[in-house]
Symmetry: C2
Subunit: 205 residues, 2 copies
């Protein structure tokens, strides 16, 4: 059961998420968040040091949820290629999200350019994902699914594809079936990694 | 030789580019652009209907220049895989850009969410690139470089990789050698396309 304090905190986060997404981070004031959440300023500052703190918390909450889903998808799978496809399937909810989370993505990035503190928090997950997927590719090599190749090179490519699809999904939701694009692209990626021989540059035939 | 009118117009564009990138689009007023460009408001409105018009012009100028470079790189190449690598090489300047153009990218996207007019202009190039690269992949199939596969699927993957790398390059310039990441990723992509058989889903081995 949620305590009253937890319930208040959750209400602040929800109100801030909606306001940031609707009006933008910069245009939203703490006073507005308090009004929307029906809490006092004192209650706000009991839970969050600043507007920025709540912004960073929103980002981290969102990614923690995503990470947990991706981790589960991988652990259910019997090989890394299968795991990557299962992880792509987990993204269906993210890409189809009608809530304001994904819309907030661009706001985070915009804010990251202006504020070094937010910038550091924003860049960290990208670096972490590149490291995380390097380990997964290495596991794929170790289990014999992939030929020996530089796992970091492959991880960079994989994260780039995912980022590029999430961005286009936000900007142009009706432009494609982004979930299908993600699945097709991960399949192409697996095909590419499987076809790569260490040190060989496929540049034509 | 530039006429005086062209020179004035170019000065407005340069001033606006710098202000939009430094302060953001929303925070920049036409009056400031005029001051920075050392032109009258009358001169500004002679060239541009609104702040939004200049914003869209900046985007289009930037993409036109890029498109010309990409087209040249492709036409110099003797095969599509070689052409794709040559196009990746053309991106070196874009990814290493120390000017404010690339920084403006996020501002465009942010603005696109808020303003349907900008949104339409912003979404159009993505769709155009997906169409353009579909044609290139089809050419690769026709010339025998690639097996028969759905060129649209491949084009989506290719554009996603490029978008994901450009975004990460803007957010985290020091996080990787993004030019190398692009080259490696395009190579992986070519490898993946070459390895794909129509209707076959590589999901493991």
């Amino acid at each position: 059961m949620q305590t009253r304090s937890e319930e208040t905190r959750a209400r602040i986060v929800q109100a801030a998420l909606k306001l940031f997404a609707d009006k933008g981070y910069e245009a939203t004031g703490v006073a507005e968040v308090c009004t929307a959440a029906e809490v006092s300023k004192g209650a706000f500052y009991h839970h969050f040091a600043s507007k920025q703190a709540i912004f960073i918390e929103l980002l981290q909450e969102w990614l923690q949820g995503l990470d947990a889903e991706l981790g589960k998808a991988l652990s259910r799978s019997s090989s890394v290629p299968e795991g990557l496809m299962a992880m792509a399937a987990e993204m269906k909810g993210v890409l189809g999200a009608t809530d304001s989370r994904l819309q907030l993505f661009l706001e985070f990035w915009q804010q990251a350019r202006r504020d070094p503190e937010v910038g550091k928090e924003m860049v960290a997950p990208f670096r972490r994902y590149r490291g995380y997927f390097s380990q997964i590719i290495q596991k794929g090599i170790d289990e014999g699914s992939f030929p020996p190749l530089d796992p970091e090179v492959a991880a960079h490519g994989l994260v780039a594809v995912a980022v590029g699809i999430v961005v286009q999904n936000v900007l142009d939701p009706g432009g494609a079936d982004w979930y299908k694009v993600l699945q097709d692209s991960i399949r192409l990626f697996i095909s590419g990694v499987s076809n790569t021989r260490a040190g060989v540059v496929p540049g034509g035939r």
